[in-house]
């Protein structure tokens, strides 16, 4: 089962990427090859195997709920492409 161009276009929206027609074309071929290779996993019987999400399975790691200083606003905004010294600015979300 290989990928279609429509699949790749849909995934590009989900992944918040905008691909040019040439990139879509190339990505469809390349991702198709990689996904075909991933299908190698299907030949393994994993019935009853517990999924392993992490290498070191630490139990819940808690810390005391105490107030600590956090990043000052000025520093948090310092790298923002656009801000008004209080908030990050983005294009209108709900229309003009």
């Amino acid at each position: 089962m290989s990928l279609t161009r429509a699949d790749v276009e849909k995934v590009s929206l989900l992944g918040r990427l905008l691909l040019t027609p040439a990139e879509l074309e190339r990505m469809t071929v390349q991702l198709g090859q990689v996904v075909d290779y991933m299908n190698l996993l299907a030949e393994l019987d994993t019935e009853g195997v517990q999924p392993m999400a992490h290498a070191i399975e630490l139990a819940n790691v808690f810390r005391d709920d105490v107030v600590r200083p956090s990043l000052p606003r000025e520093q948090a905004l310092a790298n923002a492409p656009q801000h008004d010294r209080e908030c990050y600015l983005v294009p209108a979300v709900l229309g003009e």
Partner: protein, 517 residues
Amino acid sequence: MTLLEKTATELLADLAAGRLSSAELVRACLEQIERHDGAVHAFLRVDSERALAQAKAIDERRARGDKLGPLGGLPVAIKDLLCDRDELCTCGSRMLENFRPPYDAAVIEKIKAADGVLLGRTNLDEFAMGGSTENSAFGPTCNPWDTTRIAGGSSGGAAACVAARMVPLSIGTDTGGSIRQPAGLCGVTGLKPTYGRVSRYGLVAFASSLDQIGPLAQSAEDAALLLEVIAGHDPRDSTSVPKEVPAYSKSVNKPLAGLRLGIAREHFAAGLDAEVERAVREAIKVYQSLGAKVVDISLPHGKYGVACYYVIAPSEASSNLARYDGVHYGHRTDVRIMSEALEAERAALEHGSAGRAAAEAAVAQLDTPLVRMYRQSRAEGFGPEVKRRIMLGTYALSAGYYDAYYLKALKVRRLIRQDYDTAFKDVDLIVGPVTSTPAFKIGEKSDDPLAMYLVDLYTVSANLAGVGGIVVPCGQSNGLPIGLQLQAPPFEEERLLRAAAMYQRETDWHRRAPTLA
């Protein structure tokens, strides 16, 4: 022997005895970089003023009789993926070309506190995604042994700068082999610690369940020195493990008696270059001459490692890299141009010939300005490999495919870990090659992502299982270095370092340096 041919341990002794000042050493490094980095391109940035100022301050404290930290004025190069407060941290990406982090990574704090001198920032595959450093937005790093070849990756700069004797110590990161593979291809010693050994706080995330920071250096002794500084629990990284850090630098020269070495038959299957196999088997003989016993073992799920890794790592990456949205930091597209283009698309759809209902449907599908801003900013900021990984991960996690790919890969990951657990019942270390061939030519695999991914065959399993590994140079083929990989059970870095040092006392591959034009 020239100054920069000395190991970090030798240089530290010179510094401590007053035969050498940190400023002199830093100047020698800067000269070597000036002379050769045009051809190698190991560094993205070198801040000579800052490095010299740090070195002089350390020299003054030494002159006053202050007790210095364990790095005592030694220069360290940092992969451009760890935050150093107010200094650029590009991750090899246009996305973060102008990003200055507001805090220090735990590893940077520790190196500063240990009196290491931060010499400069090394090149890498964009966001550490790649195995050749060709995916850097700022151009590839070349192998110092043959500058028409790759240095490996993603820590290509970190390995090349040590190989070219530009700096004695270097910090890399390893998500699927990114310390061990370039160390092998450049002929230096590189260690990937057990997952959880070193705090990832302030490391820009690629795949959070796999990423680990580690040292690259000329020798195991030097790697021990740097690992001892950077290892240890950090409450700011909830996956860092609260375990005592052994004094690696004290124990590294104690040989291991009665060592049982596991040789996995899968590591010597078809596809392994004959010269690489010969060098690795020679190295195993060296261990046998020191009393080690060789045990044949099997890692039957190793052949699924690459497929498993290229589901899990891109899945985690697609989630981690969602933060680059053109809002909080990083590149944002020119919103005015973008808005005009979006309006033009809308107008074209509205006035198209498809009929009113179809036109309305098409317009309804059009991105909102905010979504288009995200998509356009990411399209401009990320390079082709990062886009591929985001696409792969998004696909593997998307509705309908999650069970077949992501969940399946997590189960296979467990089987790979169980292979190691079984093997380590009978052996102390697993010994084998780190790559199937020496360094290939720049550009050779750039158009074939799958071929590039298959290079990671011998390295990804350690990350999936979370075990540690070390690579030491063990031979050459046509003047190109060959690496030997040792893997140990979790938290047995001490064993890795002692075993590597045993080998390095018997051989001189690690003392060989390339002749640079």
